[in-house]
């Protein structure tokens, strides 16, 4: 199959995907950012305080987690197969941090929010809509590579 370079066609295809998959990936983005932010406030700052460190360490860890998450997202958009290998560990770290905080604190609705959003994030990543989306992006990447190869040889 020929890979199309027509920008209008590209845009139309892309827009169709965007409207179809926007709730899944925008929801995933916001859920993960929310759980990182909640962990920065609750869990990470608690552990910083327990270890007699300034809370700046908690902030820096949170931002680092966020940057790792962005790298994973970019890999996902580009259609790399190993994007989930970056995104799922971020979600697991978030879940573990939230659970570790809840071990020593009473569970209120606010404390539970990072845990819930991390779990929901894993659910959204594994939803049919999101799997469909990522597999389409992977197919696009493979086609692009094949087109480039056919140009070389």
């Amino acid at each position: 199959m020929k890979y199309s370079f027509d920008p209008l066609k590209e845009y139309l295809v892309w827009r169709r995907y965007a409207y179809r998959f926007l709730p899944a990936w925008a929801g995933a983005l916001l859920l993960c950012l929310n759980s990182i932010a909640g962990n920065m406030t609750h869990s990470l700052s608690y552990y910083a305080a327990v270890n007699h460190l300034p809370t700046e360490y908690a902030f820096a860890t949170g931002v680092a987690l966020c940057l790792v998450f962005f790298v994973g997202l970019k890999m996902l958009y580009e259609g790399f197969r190993h994007a989930n290998g970056v995104l799922i560990p971020v979600a697991i770290v978030n879940t573990l941090l939230a659970i570790a905080y809840l071990e020593n604190h009473s569970p209120t609705l606010l404390n539970l929010l990072p845990l819930f959003s991390a779990l929901l994030y894993i659910l959204v990543l594994n939803s049919k809509n999101h799997r469909r989306y990522t597999s389409m992006l992977r197919v696009k990447r493979r086609r692009k590579i094949r087109a480039a190869k056919s140009l070389i040889h």
Binding site: P7, L8, Y11, L12, W14, A26, L30, L33, A37, L110
Partner: protein, 308 residues
């Protein structure tokens, strides 16, 4: 006014606050009442405006005790409070809750980040109009939306802090590196917004030049001739090194389009409009907290109400 300042040596803001208070309160009566109570003879009187402007109306004189005592008059913007509620407020919260400010920060920053990612992807496809700058612009847009994502995280975190530990926000506001980071992130997302505005202005100018229409008329459907003229204008902008004849020959041979179709034009204009929404969100986000702050401060003064 500068003239008043030169004459009196006191900034106008202070004199007007003082004048306003003198006209609002019967200050001598207040002082008499205070001095009549032996427990608080000579207590200082401080007024805190709803804009947190502190005016010292009378200094403390150590008559009743050595440790200073002050009567604090504080303007509360919003609903009336009972004395108990006010006492609770004064005891518990040393500062007003800024939950709404932080929450609106979430809405603008996260919305801007999401739209930014969408547009950064679409920017590559908005090809025909951007005259060859689209790819570079979309990298800038990527950087802008990544910055928007970090801002989104930041405002989520600040809202959590506002709910659990507001002092943390105040502490971070005093940190130099945090302020620098916020300003830098604002700057990056503003540059993203600016670059997309640049692309939009460029499109509008190209359409205007080739069709001679008003700015308000740009979205209307174009005739065949107008579209052909627009196409040649855009192609000329895209290939500034080629003579027009070469472009024409390429059009005739079919390697360049003769005219863009109406849906093509509409699509790229709609993309740029969406881009503008993202840009507006970025600007609103940084005006709420950051580079364009003074505007908001000026706005706050409109909402004063006095319950003393």
């Amino acid at each position: 006014m500068p003239r008043d300042f030169l004459q009196s040596g006191v900034p106008t803001a202070h004199t007007t606050t003082r004048q306003r208070l003198t006209s609002l309160l019967d200050l001598p009566a207040l002082y008499r009442t205070i001095d009549a109570d032996p427990a608080i003879v000579g207590a200082g009187v401080v007024h805190i405006g709803s804009d947190y402007q502190v005016t010292v109306l009378r200094e403390f004189v150590p008559l009743c005790s050595i440790r200073p005592k002050r009567v604090i008059l504080r303007e509360v913007a919003g609903q009336l409070m009972t004395a108990d509620e006010y006492a609770k407020l004064a005891a518990n919260s040393p500062r007003e809750s800024q939950l709404w400010k932080e929450a609106s920060g979430i809405a603008t920053n996260c919305g801007g980040a999401v739209i930014g990612f969408v547009i950064a992807k679409a920017g590559v496809a908005a090809a025909p109009f951007s005259a060859g700058t689209s790819l570079a612009l979309s990298y800038i847009a990527y950087a802008g939306s990544a910055a928007g994502g970090v801002q989104c995280l930041n405002s989520l975190w600040r809202t959590y802090n506002e709910l659990t530990n507001p002092a943390e926000n105040d502490y971070y506001d005093t940190l130099g590196w945090y302020q620098t980071m916020t300003v830098a992130l604002d700057g990056i997302s503003l540059v993203g917004a600016g670059s997309s505005t640049f692309a939009t202005v460029k499109t509008a100018m190209a359409i205007k030049r080739s069709t001679g229409r008003d700015m308000t008329d740009i979205l209307r459907r174009m005739s065949r001739q107008e579209r052909a003229k627009l196409t040649s204008e855009v192609l000329w902008l895209k290939n500034p090194r080629h003579p027009r004849e070469i472009v024409r020959l390429k059009q005739l041979s079919g390697s360049l389009p003769k005219r863009f179709s109406n849906p093509q034009i509409r699509l790229s204009i709609m993309t740029q409009l969406k881009d503008q929404i993202g840009a507006t969100l970025a600007i609103v986000g940084s005006s709420i907290s950051g580079n364009i702050n003074p505007i908001l401060v000026a706005l706050y003064e409109e909402f004063e109400s006095y319950e003393i």
